[in-house]
């Protein structure tokens, strides 16, 4: 079996103030995967990615990129790695083209090699027309795309994206998704992303790890995770307002607004039964949608149970 694109063993980070940001996490991301690292704010996502790309000094543990131990030959490992951080980290006063060409230079690419690559990437990401403008004049979405172009200049086999679509409008977000799908599918680039948009993770990623309080609480495929979903909540928009929520045996129905109901469906229950019952009571449904993204429901319940486990552990420790 091929070496994983990323292998993490016992990764620990303790900050100077004693805060344990990472508590010995293990993680494997296989070559060609589209992988999501999810977690609430402060869970340790960015610290993990920072330790992988040398922006954060790990306290203990091992990181290998395509089988290259970063403690032994980080420079070689870095050739395989492209990084798009959460915050803008380029000189805002430099020209767009200079930023991407300088990055290529840092990887030892000649200008002759770098120029066509820059042209291709800036074209693909809709920035070629802006190449001679100062980076500070770009919109937020353009700045994010500039960081993607910069990270891809040296043709990395592993691309790390830390919340790449944060603050980006829906249309642009979807075009960025399409671009990421394309480089994953056509060029075989392994992609790891962190995101707060769970719809993004569900739509793009095949595998997923959930991190909370510096520990991996779940590491599985998106498909398996969704298959575990026991309940789903739907919002039903009604043709006419109702005075109160209808009573349907075996189903949980709540009235949200006069013309809107929330319906909780448990695994094994049939939506047809609900619609029949509603029809019998003279209620017409004109549209229906998920109350939250499916993965979001799963994510929230997992983070809550992980928090409960931590609280219980702390209580036991306090008693002891």
């Amino acid at each position: 079996m091929a070496e994983p694109a990323l292998s993490i063993r016992g990764l620990t980070k303790v900050y100077g103030n004693g805060f344990h940001a990472l508590k010995g996490i293990d993680l494997d991301v296989q070559q060609g995967d589209f992988f999501a690292l999810l977690g609430p704010n402060g869970a340790g996502k960015s610290t993990t990615l920072g330790a992988v790309c040398s922006l954060v000094q790990k306290s203990a543990g091992k990181v290998s990129i395509f089988g290259i131990d970063t403690d032994k030959d980080f420079a070689k490992a870095k050739y395989q790695l492209g990084v798009v951080p959460q915050e803008f980290n380029f000189n805002q006063f430099e020209k767009v083209i200079d930023i991407v060409l300088a990055q290529a230079g840092y990887y030892g690419m000649t200008r002759k090699e770098a120029l066509p690559r820059a042209k291709q990437l800036l074209n693909d990401l809709g920035l070629w027309d802006k190449r001679n403008g100062s980076a500070r004049m770009l919109s937020g979405g353009m700045k994010r795309r500039l960081m993607i172009a910069r990270a891809l200049m040296h043709r990395p086999k592993l691309l790390i994206l830390d919340e790449p679509t944060a603050g980006v409008d829906i249309e642009l977000r979807r075009s960025m998704w399409e671009y990421m799908r394309r480089i994953n599918r056509d060029e075989g680039t392994t992609i790891i992303l962190t995101t707060h948009y769970l719809e993004e993770a569900e739509s793009l990623c095949r595998n997923i790890a959930i991190i909370n309080h510096g520990e991996i609480v779940r590491n599985t495929s998106v498909r398996k995770l969704l298959a575990e979903l026991n309940t789903e909540t739907f919002l039903l928009d009604l043709a006419a307002p109702v005075k109160q929520a209808p009573i349907i045996e075996g189903f949980e129905v709540q009235q949200i607004e006069p013309s809107q109901l929330a319906l909780v469906i448990h695994r094994g229950q049939q939506l047809n039964d609900v619609f029949s019952a509603l029809s019998e009571q003279g209620i017409t449904v004109v549209s229906m949608r998920n109350r939250a993204n499916r993965l979001e429901e799963m994510f929230v319940s997992m983070v809550e149970s992980s928090q409960q486990a931590i609280d219980q552990r702390e209580q036991q420790e306090a008693r002891a």
């Binding site: 920072g50 040398s54 922006l55 000094q57 420079a75 980290n89 000189n91 840092y106 990887y107 030892g108």
Partner: protein
Amino acid sequence: MNATQTLIALWTLVLKEIKRFTRIWPQTLLPPSITMAMYFIIFGNLIGSRIGEMDGFSYMDFIVPGLIMMSVITNSYSNVASSFFSNKFQRSIEEMMVSPMPNWVILSGFVLGGMARGLGVGLIVTLVSLFFTRLTVEHSLLTVLVVVLTSALFSIGGFINALFANKFDDISIVPTFILTPLTYLGGVFYSISMLPDFWQGVSMLNPILYMVNVFRYGFLGVSDIPVGWALAAIVAFIFALFMVALTMLERGKGIRS
């Protein structure tokens, strides 16, 4: 990285640094030229004509090497301090940290960038001085060597300052409260032979005195201190500070959490 890739990376960084200070030339190249022209007019011409000779030379001829050296020192230092700190501040230093560039290349790139500005300003000030005096160079190789070494030394100093700095104020404290007084008291405007013995002794503790004197020796052939000893001290300081800066960079001082 192989040798060619390393050279490309180093050249990329140096070129980026040169582009940076030439892009903002009204802030970086113009002010020292105007300030030094003022020194030449006021101290060299107006006041200097009343002072008479210093160590057997006209006062203007005496102060020109010192003023050139002063420009080189302050510009080399402040270029690296402000450029590296602004890279830290804008987090664009991360572009270099995630790349396979060795730390010594990052350090050398900034230092060479600082030297480019320091020596560039030194050259401009030299050209300005030609409007006021006929410059003669007694030992041209030594003159070039000492100005290049001094520029390297203060560029490394600026780098260390920027590594420690947490805010913009931190990169102006050393130039304002340490470098400027040491430069003014480093024999730019006077010969230390004019001082009482005690203050001559104190002056000998000022490292800038050695650089100014060796540089002046290159121009005029006179120096208050032994030239060979001063050169050796500058080289030793460059080596020591380079190693300090490199070690701090390896440890991620001020740039890695």
